[in-house]
């Protein structure tokens, strides 16, 4: 670079000649800082979402770059939240991309002391077999002489953090299987 540019890059020079006389702001901003842009500004796409935490239902803008979520901000368009997110909602990026997340199915055999890896397809097949078996083991055509047509062999807990469509299919399937011990956070 030219000598002039080099001199004008000195913080001391900028402090003396610019508006930042105390040398605490613009004068001492490094080149790296000046080249920073918000992840949101440089994202490939932004997708409309809703906070996964409480029931206020704040709007979220999900920013995606290179096929990965890079930031989650409040959606200013929401008439309910008006762009705000609470500390939990603001940390949705960590929830969804942080190191606590797992991406592999794990299996613990009866009386086992450690997890073992298991393929997703195999896990699904094993679970289907167990549902069928436990359903039969706990099947009741009648209770106290009255028709019940149900199974007490397996139960399910969970739903308040799931989508309506997911709860719909779960209840539909479990009900057809005869399971009645279906519950979620709403009653707890």
């Amino acid at each position: 670079m030219g000598v002039r540019t080099w001199i004008e890059g000195w913080p001391a020079y900028r402090q003396a000649t610019g508006t930042d006389r105390l040398g605490r702001g613009a004068a001492v901003k490094s080149g790296a800082s000046a080249r920073l842009t918000a992840r949101t500004a440089s994202a490939d796409t932004v997708v409309k979402s809703v906070c996964p935490y409480c029931a206020v239902g704040c709007g979220q803008d999900v920013y995606v770059t290179g096929g990965k979520v890079t930031q989650i901000e409040g959606d200013p368009d929401s008439p309910v939240s008006r762009g705000r997110l609470c500390p939990k909602g603001s940390a949705s990026l960590q929830l969804t991309t942080g190191s606590a997340r797992r991406y592999q199915v794990l299996y613990r055999r009866p009386y086992g002391t450690e997890w073992e890896p298991l393929g997703l397809d195999e896990a699904m097949d094993m679970i289907a077999d167990r549902v069928i078996a436990s359903r039969r083991a706990g099947w009741q055509w009648e209770s106290d002489g009255k028709r019940v047509r149900r199974t007490m062999g397996f139960a399910s807990l969970g739903g308040a953090t799931l989508d309506n469509e997911e709860n719909y299919l779960l209840k539909k399937l479990f009900t057809a299987l005869g399971a009645v011990q279906i519950e979620n956070q709403a009653r707890i």
Binding site: V50, V56, R101, P110, S156, E166, A176
Partner: protein, 725 residues
């Protein structure tokens, strides 16, 4: 709705720390405050909500019914109830049957209590001359009466389709108004001070604030959360607030109502389309076991005769068609017999007891963590240790997934890993950014969230899991001729899925296709526009009648995102609220019997005589063209049986229930009982605790209660007054 709080002249927050727990919603309380509203926070603790309130009222935990009862009593005795609203829109004038006996005469019990079963028979609570079904809650209690009456009345129009007797002057000794006055008479300011620990001056301020801010020109809103629900009498807390707000004329009004602040992203949705034991979608009850029950008897028993629950057959048949499609015909009762039946409570706590007993051998945990999130974590973990198999689907290795090697019982040696036979599958779940679907928030508003990225690795959505589990099970039993398997094989279970890929295997099902089924379609497959289009003849299918309309015109109404800044404060084009995009329920009550707003200041919906329809800022929660002056014919049923002055369209009688003749298991009116583990005697009644609370069935050495009633260990320290001598 949360934004509506800005219109309140007074906001009472009780059983909630809204500023900390629903902080973004709380901005609307601050908006109200900026406009001059009075904010009152009633709570045992002084929290951040208290810090910005105009008044913090501390009260003893568990004593809210005494306070609310005291406010009700004040409103009644001072005459400061909203008389026109009360007379026209509540059941204040309805006369109760002679068999009813109140807590005043039974030492704190209501009539109909059976000590052996620890339950109430609600039949003595009914209106004079007619029994009536509830719009929600425990509706099966009326089964025998309503089916017997139907049997007797078959062909004669129905003996139980009666009209309650009323006294519009509110003077008849057995009219609800007088019953209320008598019931709450002992809830005096002195009692409030003694039982709640609320100084008289503070109580007086609350009385003044809520009455001065109710009526034609001003409205008061109540806000609550789990500080109210987590009690053995939690339901009656909510009932007490409903009674108070109905007396003050605040229900269905802008800046009024009772806002429940729920706690999970779609806990409202998971109650509407319930993964709950006692409900089917749209609050249709799960059938209980009865002799010779068929669809007709179910509908007659559980539905109402008047109002919109009278159409229960249409809602139920449409649901059965959504579930079982072509297999459900008029000839087989639309597969009604495919539904499993209840024989009491099958809640998660009963299930834990069944797991401990070895009766329930399999368990799915789908984004829930009972080892730490349910009551008595130890029993939860002991139950899980007794299972044959457990499937945990979550983001990370939660406590419930690793209980077998990590937890208090492992640390103490009470449980040993090598002795626990539970087979455990941990399956990573997709996050909300990785799947498309809808959440329903605390104000009944559905909002669609779009997938931004695919879930990585083996992580999948619950939509993927439930769909493919169903496909696998159905293929494994495809050749079965066992009658047990018919419901599974008859299911409609064919949703569009994304293509199978080498990398990810079976594809993701279309959430929008499931939404379309929830919305429903007519005989030609066209999406239904509204629940009023549902038919009982099997020509419509609808997975959840209260959500009908969310996919009207084949458009995902829940995905609408017209910015709030471009709409009115109601913002009807952001998302979609049930029912029918009505944002404030029972908003007919915001207008007087002639259909004019009670005041210009509090206008919400009103009758447009020229157009012959209801109109306003919100979608009217009323039959659109039913004139205020409409009076039903004597033998009318269904919605047509409601007058143009009956705003509470889900209630059989179209009125807000100050007194609930049906639907509740612990009384038609709230009564104060001490909490289960209270160290103090009940200052109001000899009956100490909620008589129908279920404690005995959960008896277990690891489920002990804090001793009380003078038992060893019940003493409270420091004692007052100090011992003398």
């Amino acid at each position: 709705m949360q934004q509506d709080l800005q219109h309140a002249d007074c906001i009472v927050i009780e059983g909630s720390n809204m500023a900390e727990c629903h902080p973004v919603g709380f901005q609307w309380v601050m908006e109200a405050k900026a406009r001059g509203a009075t904010v009152i926070h009633i709570d045992p603790r002084y929290t951040r909500t208290s810090a910005v309130a105009d008044l913090h009222v501390p009260l003893r935990a568990g004593s809210d019914i005494v306070l609310l009862g005291g406010l009700i009593s004040y409103v009644l005795s001072s005459g400061k109830f909203f008389r026109d609203y009360v007379v026209n829109y509540t059941n204040a004038a309805t006369i109760i049957g002679e068999e009813f006996t109140d807590t005043e005469d039974l030492d704190g019990l209501f009539s109909g209590f059976d000590a052996d079963s620890r339950s109430y028979d609600p039949r003595s609570w009914t209106y004079e001359g007619t029994e009536v079904q509830a719009a929600s809650g425990e509706r099966d209690a009326e089964y025998d009466v309503r089916t017997a009456a139907r049997g007797e009345a078959h062909g004669s129009g129905g003996a139980h389709v009666g009209t309650p007797r009323t006294d519009q002057a509110l003077e008849h000794p057995r009219c609800v108004f007088q019953v209320l006055k008598r019931h709450f008479a002992r809830y005096t300011p002195e009692m409030v001070e003694q039982a709640c620990g609320i100084p008289r001056a503070a109580f007086d301020r609350v009385c003044a604030a809520i009455t001065a801010n109710s009526g034609r020109d001003r409205t008061t809103a109540f806000v609550y959360s789990v500080g109210w629900t987590q009690h053995t009498v939690g339901v009656q807390y909510i009932r007490a607030a409903s009674i108070l707000q109905a007396l003050l004329g605040n229900i269905g009004r802008p800046g009024g109502g009772i806002l429940a602040l729920r706690g999970h992203a779609s806990i409202q949705g998971s109650t509407d389309i319930p993964t709950l034991f006692d409900l089917l979608p749209g609050y249709i009850p799960m059938p209980h076991a009865h002799t010779n029950q068929d669809l007709d008897s179910f509908v007659a028993a559980e539905g109402t005769d008047k109002g919109f629950w009278a159409n229960m057959r249409a809602y139920t048949v449409s649901l059965l068609k959504a579930y079982w499609g072509d297999a459900a015909t008029a000839g087989n009762d639309f597969c009604f017999d495919h539904l499993p039946r209840l024989t009491g409570s099958h809640s998660t706590y009963e299930t834990v007891m069944a797991q401990l007993a070895g009766d329930c051998e399999g368990y799915f945990l789908l984004g829930e963590n009972p080892a730490v999130g349910s009551a008595n974590g130890k029993l939860q973990r002991l139950g899980m240790a007794n299972l044959k198999w457990l499937v945990v689907r979550d983001f990370s290795l939660i406590e419930s997934a690793v209980f077998w090697k990590d937890g208090p019982e492992i640390d103490s040696g009470e449980l040993r890993t090598r002795d626990i036979g539970t087979e455990v599958f941990f399956m990573p779940a997709a996050a909300h950014t990785e799947k498309s679907g809808s959440f329903t928030n605390t104000q009944r508003m559905l909002q669609w969230h779009h997938a931004a990225v695919e879930p990585a690795g083996d992580a999948r959505s619950e939509l993927w899991f439930s769909y493919w589990l169903g496909r696998l099970i159905r293929s494994k039993i495809a050749d079965s001729t066992d009658e047990m398997d018919r419901p599974v094989l008859d299911l409609t279970w064919d949703y569009p899925v994304e293509k199978w890929s080498e990398e990810r295997g079976p594809g993701e099902p279309s959430a929008e296709a499931v939404l379309a089924e929830i919305n429903g379609w007519d005989a030609d497959g066209k999406p239904l526009p509204a629940y009023t289009e549902l038919k009982e003849d099997g020509s419509t299918a609808c997975g959840c009648w209260i959500y009908c309309g969310v996919y009207a015109d084949g458009i995902n109404q829940a995905a609408r995102r017209k910015p709030g800044s471009e709409q009115s404060w109601i913002a009807p084009e952001w998302g979609w609220a049930w029912p029918a995009n009505r944002r404030i329920l029972y908003n007919r009550a915001s207008a007087d019997p002639e259909g004019r707003p009670w005041s210009d200041r509090k206008a919400l919906v009103w009758w447009d005589a020229d157009e012959g329809k209801w109109t306003g800022h919100d979608v009217p929660d009323f039959v659109p063209d039913k004139a205020p002056g409409y009076r039903p014919p004597r033998d009318a049923t269904g919605p047509a049986a409601h007058a143009g002055t009956d705003p509470f369209i889900m209630q059989a009688d179209g009125k807000a229930w100050l007194y609930a003749p049906a639907g509740l298991v612990d009384g038609p009116l709230p009564a104060h009982y001490e909490p289960q583990e209270s160290p103090l005697p009940n200052p109001l009644y000899p009956q100490q605790r909620n008589p129908v609370r279920q404690a005995r069935k959960f008896a277990h050495p690891d489920n002990r209660f804090q001793p009380s009633d003078g038992a060893y260990g019940a003493q409270v320290f420091p004692t007052w007054p100090p011992p003398t001598g």
